[in-house]
């Protein structure tokens, strides 16, 4: 089973994300800020990270930079999931090594589409229009 670390300071968002990701077949670990997430990653790297931008202590952007410098830290697919919905933020995230980007609000369909995009899940069986 693939693992996904959900990093968001809102417990509500973490709960929604957990439900969606479990439905998509992931085992889920949660962190409420970048610092805690980094701590978890130094112990064990997940396959995927769903990452908020604005968080107290260490924000998502900062976390991503540090993650990518960890041994093996280029491995996890990082998908931002944030209300920062402008081109500047998106470009910065991609330059820092993000693999995909979700603009909140999000739903299962968007998460599935984006995870499919980066090869974390297989294409869902083709549904007709």
């Amino acid at each position: 089973m693939k693992s996904c670390l959900v990093v968001d300071d809102s417990s509500v968002v973490r709960k929604i994300a957990r439900r969606i990701l479990e439905e998509l077949g992931f085992s889920v670990v949660e962190a409420e800020d970048g610092e805690r997430a980094l701590e978890l990653c130094t112990k064990s790297l997940p396959d995927a990270i769903l990452l908020d931008w604005n968080m107290p202590v260490m924000d998502g952007y900062d976390f991503l930079g540090r993650l990518r410098r960890l041994p093996g830290g280029e491995g996890p697919k990082v998908v931002f999931c944030t209300t920062e919905n402008d081109i500047d933020h998106i470009s910065r995230a991609l330059n820092a090594g993000a693999n995909e980007y979700i603009m909140k609000p999000f739903d299962k369909e968007i998460v599935a589409a984006k995870f499919q995009e980066v090869g974390l899940i297989q294409a869902l069986s083709a549904e007709s229009a």
């Binding site: 919905n85 402008d86 081109i87 998106i90 470009s91 991609l94 995909e100 980007y101 979700i102 603009m103 999000f106 369909e109 968007i110 589409a113 984006k114 499919q116 995009e117 294409a123 083709a126 007709s128 229009a129």
Partner: protein
């Protein structure tokens, strides 16, 4: 809804758009047409049918458009666009090396995600296409979706279904809450209103035809007829791309499937007997519109 009204609408839709409703789709008609009836100041489906029987042609096209399914998204099903990049374009680059021009038809483009996915794919291979002329003709029955396609404006939700983030950054601009595809990509696509039930031989000859997720709504004879007429305007070494739930197998031999390339077909060289649209359709064309 009473039976005669239902049968009237069923026949109208079949004649006008090809939509083949089974005998038990009353709920679908009601959910889509009641709002339309109310907007036209009519109290019920019965009143709407009465107006249609009296021959209100603007109402007819509204009814037809309201009953179409316009669901679409960028790079839908992914595989066809892999075929396009990995097989269709490399083959055509060789085969058309002298002519240096390629014509692509999106035969039911809806709100534009499909033709623009092709346009972006072409942009991504622009080095190989320097000096080439590539046309994308996008057609649909519905004027409403064509307008949206031309504008190239999409909601945040729409740009997150199937569109890789790198392509969003590269080919879109923010427009308030919406995202607009850049004008140079928009400029690669020509839009035209076209009903597949009617004659389309005037569109010219195509190297590639995307006809996806529209024939599924039609009955067998209509599908066969349209396949036959599409084959007639394709280059013998062209490509036909169908939707994930569609096939020519068991319907017609004017196209043959490609092994290992799901949803991809080529003309077989066998000529269809379908010279013209089906009689019902041409009669409607002559009477209506």
């Amino acid at each position: 809804m009473n039976q005669p009204d239902y049968e009237f609408l069923r026949k109208l839709l079949r004649d006008k758009s090809g939509l083949d409703l089974s005998a038990d789709k009353q709920y679908l008609i009601e959910s889509r047409l009641l709002p339309l009836a109310r907007k036209a100041g009519l109290a019920s489906i019965s009143d709407l049918v009465q107006k249609l029987r009296d021959g209100s042609s603007t109402l007819v096209s509204q009814v037809v458009e309201a009953m179409t399914t316009n669901e679409t998204f960028f790079f839908r099903d992914k595989v066809p666009f892999d075929h396009f990049r990995e097989m269709i374009m490399p083959e055509l680059l060789k085969a058309r090396a002298n002519r240096r021009s390629i014509r692509i038809w999106c035969a039911a483009c809806s709100t534009g995600q499909e033709p623009y996915s092709l346009a972006m794919s072409l942009k991504e291979m622009s080095a190989a296409l320097a000096g080439w002329r590539v046309e994308i003709i996008a057609t649909d029955l519905s004027q409403e979706v064509l307008e949206k396609s031309k504008a190239g404006l999409y909601s945040q939700f729409e740009v997150q279904r199937g569109l890789p983030i790198q392509l969003l950054v590269k080919y879109f601009k923010q427009a308030g809450e919406l995202w607009q595809i850049n004008s140079d990509v928009r400029g690669m696509v020509q839009h035209r209103q076209l009903n597949l039930l009617h004659d389309f031989s005037q569109l010219g000859t195509f190297d590639v035809v995307f006809c996806r997720n529209v024939l599924i709504y039609f009955d067998q004879d209509t599908k066969i007829n349209i396949f036959g007429r599409i084959a007639k305007l394709m280059e013998p070494d062209g490509f036909l791309v169908l939707g994930a739930a569609e096939t020519v197998v068991g319907l017609t031999d004017v196209f043959k499937p490609l092994a290992d390339r799901r949803g991809l077909y080529r003309p077989s060289g066998i000529v269809s007997t379908a010279k013209a649209p089906l009689p019902g359709a041409s009669r409607v064309a002559a009477a209506g519109n």
